[in-house]
Every structure is written in structure tokens, then in C-alpha cells.
């Protein structure tokens, strides 16, 4: 008898999470929980100014503090050729400033001491003399002919521009605009944000001179990439580097890059021959590590009177900070910005992009998204909203006219992506029904009588999740595939390791469910391990919603390899030929005689005790999975808000999310991811942004100034599902972790804009703080979030 899949914790089971058993007891093991014998503590001194030449650094008083073991400056790093390191976008980044500081918070010195308090004390005794230079705090200042050159360290750099880039068909797009009846335009700013996982970054470097082995425990989402980077930067042989990523307190893209603190702690351990722990404080995290967004987006849409979109033009101006350190596939300078409008059937599109250096922290990380997809989809849905209004068409109707239809897949987008599958119209219908779209106008009228403004916003989008394929996607030359290794023990229990790295996504739970689905081994009998480069197979890590699309596929594939071998063993045990063997969940049986069978556990035992002649013993294997395409989930997010015109305060009355992420491995976890993502979307729409004053001081260097929503502000969300299995994924799953963060913000903003429609306001930039909404209501003018340019 085949097993009941839900009973063994297979696919589709809302299995309670395995990792919770340690977390709810306070027994997680995060980097800062690890204590090694003889461990020293490191503290970093950061620049208080945004742009300055370093005239001198005096560390003598710091050395005098009892308990101080080492003081490091840029000179120490430079003498080991470590003052600079490569970034993930083929630029260079200062590990520690030698010539200039280029943003507030940049690393200037470090103290290594017996305990963290002593290290902090000693840091405060270091005297740095700065000669201040004019700071550049936005790309418009950076463009000015008399702007100081931020990257004067680079011989070929003559301006502050990093790149010009374009994609799409300019000529076809120009023709579309010539044929247009109506041209709709929109300009907006997607403000700088910081992912702020609740755990900051940190590392413990442990160099053992006797063996030559370097072990680094660190907060990384991609341990194998780090191992490769350390091998390159520190010139250590790769087999002597072990990167361990223990439990992570969230990542959200913030823990993908290589940060100076990691590198400095490694050198400190080599120099002191003791383990060195570095734990970043929150303000260090906020002002120096990978931010997200900070892009100015402009665009226009060519429209036919009947509502058909003929073409789109987009231009982006992005602020990358002092070093171009975006973590993204090499080929694409502004990530996957050109995934914009992928859900719509649009014949022609053209995107131009320019990137600029400024005196701000580097980053441009994929903050809970796939490489700039958040900006792309936000612009898309704001543009769609504006275009429908310009045509005088209903928002839902306009989308229905232009969304890609079910029978058009695989669909080649105007920018060249191949979207794989979906039921876009159905998702939208489910959402419209759930939110009561048909009676909304009436509701809005009634609210007006109460003095309140109601608005309803729609956001519909598909996004590319799960890079590669490896032909097109690589990070610093490393192809974007992923891996899994499965060992089935003699008693039928198993251990699975993958090249991904969980940070709260629940891999320890869900990967076991995939194995259970493929092999019929109960999920509780499978232990999952990730994050240790000495034991895990090589993989690209977890970000950009790539775990399930890529590593998850590898888990299915390796399970199938195991099943193929087990089938041979089963034939041997049942004394029939392999062709006569049938499989049902958990067991093989002889065709035509279901009674005569052996379980997968029987085969496992035989693999170690009774293999057929000529067969290798054992039951283990690995799989490297190179996806044929990205996966393309779809989401329809609808939001209803009420604005109090007296104050500009808006409340979410109802939020409906319809997600089609293909087959769901663990519905409970999928829904958890969606709710988490929607909360980040709400955060960006309502309060969460990082600005800088004219001097380049970061406003938002702590959680009092950088607002994150709590349980009190965060609205509730109503979730629905539609399932279109991914046609090219072994178990039909698509990525999901980030859909809500990507598609969510536009639903909130479109709702508020809808409520303001009668005032003629077309755009208020995020975050929609009450003062901005109030200003729009009072003036009837757009409210821009772009910083004022000095001298204007």
C-alpha cells in the first residue's frame, strides 16, 4: 500500500517546523552565541564624515589601554595588500580607508582586545585628522561638472558616473510612440531602504597557524561565494578555508556581500593567532552595509484609445554609493530592472540606465527581491495605474486588456525574458471578488459623506525568481546553479545537504518534505544541514527567492537518482527484472502483484548488506541543478485604504493577496513568507526609508530614526492561492519569498493615489507619511521624495 503523503510530511503538508524546536527554547546558535577558547573581540572605528581626506591617524593612546592586543589601520591592511577588495559588480571597495573616507560610517581603524568593552574604549582613543571635502549625496549632484571626483583612486575614472546601460528595441519603441493615441508619463523616486535583518552582521575568524586552516563563522547567505572571495582576496588555498554560516537572524539580501569587517577580522586572527570575534552594532549595520533601492525612475507609455499598450520607455538613475557593490548577475548593470512589464503583452520596450557614485554607503543589494525587481515592479504598477487614469479606463479592466493570456505561454517579453506559465486573469478575478471590487465605488461615496477618503489600489505582477540558468546568470564568473547531496543510511534514515542557506525560510523542514515526496521516507527521518562549506556541496546560497527554484529542484533530482538505484536493488531483492518493477510512494512492487514488494527502507538496508553482484554498495548521491529558466510566479495584491483628510493619516481597511507560486511544498511556510513580505511592502510604503542631510550624514542610523513597523501598525492580510505548476521545475514549484515585497508596495501606494484622485495628484513618493499625504491633499500637487539639490 502506498503511503499517505500528508501523513509522512510530504509535499502539501503544513508540517510544523523542525528548526523551531531549538529557537523556541533559546537554543539557536547564531554567530554571536559562539565562543571559542582564547577568543578576542574586535571593534571598528568608523568615519564620522562623508567625504574627507585622512591627514593622520594616531593610535598610540589606544595601544596603551590594558587588554588591547592589536590596533589596525588602513596602513596595516595595505601592507598586506588588503586595503581594497573586489566587489560583486567588478568594482573595488575599500576594506579600510587609506587615502580618503568616502561615506559616513566607512571603516577607518579597528581595535582587537580581550573584551568588547575594552575594544570600544580603545577605539574612542584613536585620533583621526580629517580634511573635509564637499560631499555628494545624490546622483544629480554627482553629475555636476564641478562635482569632486569621489573615486580618484581609480585611474580611468574621470567623472562620478559608473555606467550607462541599455536594453530593448529602441527603434521599435520609437515607432510605437509615433502610433500612440495617448502618451502617459510618470516620474518617481524609490527611496533608499535598509533590509535590517534583526541580527546584524558579524564573524569569528579562527586561523590556525599549525594546520594553516582558516575557519570563519559568519553571517552569510552564500558561504561558498564567500569561500571563493576569501581565496581570491586573502590568497589562501581554498581547501584551507572553511566558511560556516550558523543560524542566521534573517538576511533579506543584507548578508550577501563581503563586508570589510569580515576581512579585517580574518587578518586580525592571522596576526594575533587567536580567534577574533566581530559583531557589528546596529548603527554600524544601518550606515555601512548593503542598502536597497535608491533609484529615480522615469518612463512613458504609448497607448491606443481602446486601452492597448503599444510600448514602454524607461530610464533609471541609480545611486550606488561610494563603491559599485551591487550583488547581481554580472551581465546586468541594473539588475533585472528589465523584468518590468513582464506580466503584460507589450510589443516594444526600451530601457536606459545610468549609475552614479555618491558619498553614501555601497550596497544596492537585492533587498528581499531578485536584483532590482522591486523597483521594476513598483514602477510598472504605478505606470499602469497612471496610464489607466489617463485613458479614463477602469484599473481592473485596463489590466485585463493587457495582461498576458493563459494560452500565450511561454511568452517572450519585449525585453527578452521568457515567462513560463500562469493564470493572470484568474488571480485578478479572485482578488477583485474577495475585496468586493464591484461595490467599491458606492462604498467610496458613502465614506465621503463621513468625511473620509477611500481608495482601492491594484498591483498585478509576475517576476523572475530563481537565477540561473547558468548561461545567462553568474556572480563574479561563478555560474548560478545549485546543489544537493543525499545520504540514505542503512536503517532508511537520511541526511540531506544543500548549497543553499536558510535564514528563516525553513529549509530544514521543507527540503525533507521534498525527499519524502520523492522517496516516501518520512520527513521526520531526514535531517537537513546547510551552511558549512566543508560539508555542504557547492552552491550559490539563498537570496533572490532562488532556494526552491534551484536548490529545491536539486533536492528532487538527487532523490530521483537515489530512487533509480533503489529500484535496481528492489529488482534484485524481488528477483525480477527492473522493467517489471513499479513504484508507489515508499515502496517498489512487482507489476501485476502489488502484494509482492519492498519498501525504500528495505532497499536502503540492502544497499549496505546485500547489493547485487557488480553494484557499488551504499545509497548516496548528489545533484547539481542548472535551471532551464527562471520561475515566474504571479501575484495580484489589492488594498483598500481610508484616509483622514484632516491629518493625512491612512489606514489599511483590507488587503487581499492572491499568490500563484506554483505547487506549494509547505502551505504554512509559504503563507508565512507572504505575510512577512507584505509587511516589508507596507513598511516601505508607509515609513521605512533612509535619507541623508546635505553633509552626507545618514538620517536613520538607529531604530528610532529608521522606522520599522511593529505589530501595532502592521495591518492584517487576507491570503488566497491559485496554483499553476511551473512547467520546467521538477516538482512544479516557483519562488515565492519575495513576491509580496516586490508587488506589495504599489498596492498600498495605488490605493492612496486612488483616494486622492479627485485632487489631480498623480504621484506622492514613498514613504507615504501622513505629512506627505496631507501636503498633497492641501496643494493638489505631487509630492516628490527626491532630496533637494544643494545650490538649486
Amino acid at each position: 500500500m502506498a503511503l499517505d503523503e500528508l501523513k509522512i510530511g510530504g509535499m502539501g503538508a503544513s508540517r510544523r517546523r523542525v528548526e523551531d524546536n531549538r529557537f523556541i527554547r533559546g537554543k539557536g546558535r547564531y554567530v554571536d552565541d559562539i565562543v571559542l577558547p582564547g577568543m578576542l573581540h574586535m571593534e571598528i572605528l568608523r568615519s564620522p564624515v562623508a567625504h574627507a581626506r585622512i591627514k593622520s591617524i594616531d593610535t598610540s593612546a589606544a595601544w596603551e589601554v590594558p587588554g588591547v592586543r592589536l590596533v589596525i589601520t588602513g596602513d596595516t591592511m595595505a601592507s598586506r595588500n588588503l586595503a581594497w577588495m573586489p566587489t560583486l559588480s567588478y568594482d573595488t571597495q575599500a576594506v579600510m580607508a587609506t587615502d580618503k573616507v568616502r561615506f559616513q560610517g566607512q571603516e577607518v581603524a579597528a581595535v582587537i582586545a580581550d573584551d568588547p568593552y575594552i575594544a570600544k574604549d580603545a577605539c574612542s582613543k584613536i585620533v583621526v585628522e580629517y580634511e573635509q571635502l564637499p560631499p555628494i549625496v545624490n546622483p544629480f549632484q554627482a553629475q555636476s561638472p564641478d562635482a569632486p571626483l569621489i573615486r580618484d583612486d581609480k585611474e580611468t575614472q574621470t567623472s562620478n558616473k559608473i555606467f550607462d546601460w541599455e536594453i530593448g528595441d529602441k527603434a521599435a519603441t520609437d515607432r510605437a510612440f509615433e502610433e500612440a493615441d495617448v502618451v502617459s508619463k510618470l516620474e518617481l523616486h524609490y527611496p533608499r531602504s535598509h533590509p535590517s535583518p534583526l541580527e546584524t552582521c558579524g564573524s569569528i575568524a579562527d586561523y590556525d597557524r599549525a594546520t594553516g586552516k582558516l575557519t570563519v563563522y559568519m553571517t552569510t547567505q552564500a558561504p561558498h561565494i564567500i569561500r571563493a572571495a576569501v581565496a581570491m582576496v586573502a590568497e589562501l588555498p581554498e581547501q584551507m578555508i572553511r566558511i560556516v554560516s550558523p543560524d542566521l537572524g534573517g538576511g533579506f539580501g543584507n548578508k550577501v556581500p563581503v563586508y570589510p569587517g569580515y576581512v579585517i577580522s580574518i587578518l586580525a586572527s592571522i596576526l594575533t593567532e587567536r580567534p577574533v570575534k566581530w559583531i557589528e552594532d546596529r548603527s554600524g549595520n544601518l550606515i555601512s552595509t548593503g542598502f536597497g533601492r535608491d533609484v529615480y525612475l522615469q518612463g512613458e507609455m504609448a497607448l491606443r484609445k481602446d486601452g492597448k499598450i503599444l510600448g514602454v520607455r524607461m530610464h533609471t538613475i541609480s545611486d550606488h554609493g561610494a563603491f559599485y557593490a551591487d550583488a547581481q548577475p554580472t551581465k546586468f548593470k541594473i539588475g533585472l530592472m528589465h523584468s518590468a512589464f513582464a506580466a503584460y503583452d507589450i510589443p516594444a520596450a526600451h530601457l536606459t540606465s545610468e549609475g552614479w557614485y555618491t558619498n553614501k554607503a555601497p550596497g544596492g543589494v537585492a533587498y528581499r527581491c531578485s536584483f532590482r525587481v522591486t523597483e521594476a515592479m513598483f514602477f510598472q504598477e504605478r505606470m499602469i495605474h497612471a496610464a489607466a487614469n489617463d485613458l479614463g479606463m477602469d484599473q481592473a479592466e485596463f489590466r485585463k486588456v493587457n495582461l498576458v493570456k493563459d494560452d500565450m505561454f511561454p511568452y517572450r517579453t519585449a525585453f527578452g525574458f521568457l515567462t513560463d506559465s500562469g493564470q493572470y486573469g484568474k488571480c485578478l478575478d479572485v482578488a477583485l471578488e474577495a475585496i468586493g471590487y464591484s461595490t467599491f465605488k458606492q462604498e467610496q461615496e458613502e465614506a465621503r459623506k463621513r468625511g473620509k477618503l477611500l481608495g482601492l489600489g491594484i498591483s498585478t505582477m509576475t517576476e523572475p525568481l530563481g537565477a540561473g540558468n547558468s548561461r545567462e546568470y553568474d556572480i563574479i564568473g561563478i555560474k548560478m546553479f545549485d546543489s544537493a547531496e543525499l545520504r540514505v543510511h542503512m536503517t532508511g534514515k537520511a541526511i540531506l545537504r544543500t548549497g543553499a542557506k536558510t535564514q528563516g525560510q525553513g529549509h530544514e523542514t521543507t527540503w525533507a518534505q521534498i525527499v519524502a515526496h520523492e522517496l516516501g521516507i518520512p520527513a521526520d527521518d531526514i535531517v537537513v544541514e546547510e551552511g558549512d562549506t566543508d560539508t555542504a556541496p557547492f552552491g550559490m546560497g539563498t537570496y533572490a527567492s532562488r532556494s526552491t527554484p534551484v536548490a529545491g529542484a536539486a533536492v528532487a533530482m538527487v532523490s530521483r537518482k537515489i530512487r533509480a538505484k533503489a529500484r535496481k536493488i528492489a529488482a534484485h531483492l524481488l528477483e525480477v527484472s527492473e522493467e517489471d518493477i513499479e513504484w508507489e510512494l515508499g515502496r517498489f512492487y512487482v507489476r501485476g502483484n502489488n502484494e509482492r514488494g519492498v519498501t525504500i527502507q528495505d532497499c536502503a538496508l540492502a544497499a549496505y548488506s546485500n547489493v547485487p553482484d557488480g553494484m557499488e554498495p551504499g545509497l548516496e548521491n548528489n545533484a547539481y541543478y542548472d535551471p532551464p529558466n527562471l520561475t515566474w510566479p504571479f501575484a495580484a495584491y489589492l488594498c483598500k485604504v481610508e484616509i483622514d483628510p484632516q491629518t493625512g493619516v491612512w489606514d489599511v481597511l483590507n488587503f487581499v493577496a492572491v499568490d500563484d507560486c506554483g505547487v506549494r511544498i509547505n502551505p504554512m511556510i509559504v503563507e508565512g513568507q507572504i505575510m512577512g513580505g507584505l509587511t516589508e511592502a507596507y513598511a516601505m510604503a508607509s515609513m521605512q526609508y533612509i535619507t541623508f542631510d546635505e553633509e552626507g550624514n545618514c538620517i536613520g542610523s538607529n531604530f528610532m530614526d529608521y522606522l520599522l513597523p511593529t505589530s501595532w501598525e502592521t495591518p492584517g492580510f487576507e491570503l488566497h492561492e491559485v496554483v499553476t505548476p511551473c512547467p520546467h521545475h521538477p516538482i512544479g514549484a516557483k519562488g515565492v519569498g519575495e513576491c509580496a515585497t516586490v508587488g506589495g508596495p504599489a498596492a498600498f501606494v495605488n490605493a492612496v493615489m486612488n483616494a486622492l484622485e479627485h485632487t489631480g495628484v498623480r504621484n506622492v513618493d514613498m514613504p507615504l507619511m501622513p505629512n506627505r499625504v496631507y501636503e498633497a491633499l492641501q496643494t493638489g500637487q505631487d509630492v516628490s521624495g527626491a532630496p533637494p539639490v544643494k545650490g538649486e
Binding site: D20, F23, I24, G26, G28, L198, G676, T679, S711, W712
Partner: protein, 175 residues
């Protein structure tokens, strides 16, 4: 002292004052010599090696470090260890016994109230203080009681459900 040997710690550097404090941590009396500036969170994590209490901001902004001080939730990153002298401190490690989870812990697991787990100990301690005060809270009361604790992963909805689940279970156990 019952261990076979005890390392004599180096005398504190000249000029570093220390104070003797006695704090009851999870029911166990601990007497320690500490620098007066030592934060309670650091004493708990580094001194007592109870690493279940986390730190997410060190500036009172996130609640990851929440513990109970004489039954009231405090952010231990903003309490000096000397302020806990003569008082009771309760951390996540004190929630469950070897055999049994606290209903709040069960609730978080059942309702999927955690993802990365970093905020969880602080959330659970804040919830415990609430439920001891108010065994039958409304959803809004739960949301308000947890509003000093940030979670970046879950979106709170399931955390609120977890606390309500625990409240019900605790009422059943009482009744």
C-alpha cells in the same frame, strides 16, 4: 564551588571598579563581581552564557533582548546589570522544563510565529508578561503588548495568533 578546579580570573585592570551583585536568574541565585557599567544583556549573554536572549540594536529599539525583571518585561540592553541586584531575572531559558514546553513556546510553533527565530525569545517573554497580567487578551491588546518588539520575518499576524493560542491553552490548564 563544586567543580574540580576554578580559574582565578586576572585582577581587573587598575582603575576598573567592580561591584558585587546577587541576581536570581531563572530561579538560581548568582553572585558576581561586575563592572558597574556592564549591561544586563551582556551579563546574561556573555557572563552567564544564556545566549537565548538576543541583541538586535543595543539602543532599546527592537526588543530582541527582552527579559523579565521581577516579572516585568524590560529591554536588557538598556538596564545596567547592577540595577538587577537583589532582583529576579527570567530569560527564555527559564520558560520550559526539560520535559515540558511552556504553552507560549508551543503556540509559537503551532501557529508558525517565527521564521529566523531571532526575535522569538524577546517576543515570548513580552507575551509571558502580558498573559500573566491579562489571561484573556484581545487581539489588539496582544498587538499593543508586543509593540516594543520588532520582527523582520513574520509580519506579526502569526505571532499574535501564537499568543492567543497560548492564552487559551493556559486558561484551559488553569481551569
Amino acid at each position: 564551588m563544586t567543580s574540580l578546579y576554578e580559574e582565578i580570573p586576572p585582577a581587573p585592570a587598575p582603575g576598573v571598579p567592580t561591584t558585587r551583585v546577587t541576581i536570581t536568574v531563572n530561579g538560581e541565585k548568582r553572585t558576581l563581581d561586575i563592572e558597574p557599567r556592564l549591561l544586563l544583556s551582556h551579563l546574561i549573554r556573555q557572563g552567564l552564557q544564556l545566549t537565548g536572549t538576543h541583541m538586535g540594536c543595543d539602543t532599546t529599539g527592537c526588543g530582541a533582548c527582552t527579559v523579565l525583571l521581577n516579572g516585568r518585561p524590560v529591554k536588557s540592553c538598556t538596564v545596567l546589570a547592577v540595577q538587577a541586584n537583589g532582583r529576579d531575572v527570567e530569560t527564555v531559558e527559564g520558560l520550559s522544563s526539560a520535559q515540558q514546553l511552556h504553552p507560549i513556546q508551543e503556540g509559537f510553533k503551532q501557529e508558525h510565529g517565527l521564521q529566523c527565530g531571532y526575535c522569538t525569545p524577546g517576543m515570548m517573554m513580552a507575551a509571558k508578561a502580558l498573559l500573566e497580567r491579562n489571561p484573556n487578551p484581545t487581539e489588539d491588546e496582544v498587538r499593543w503588548a508586543l509593540s516594543g518588539n520588532i520582527c523582520r520575518c513574520t509580519g506579526y499576524q502569526n505571532i499574535v495568533k501564537a499568543v492567543l493560542w497560548a492564552a487559551e491553552k493556559m486558561r484551559e490548564q488553569e481551569g
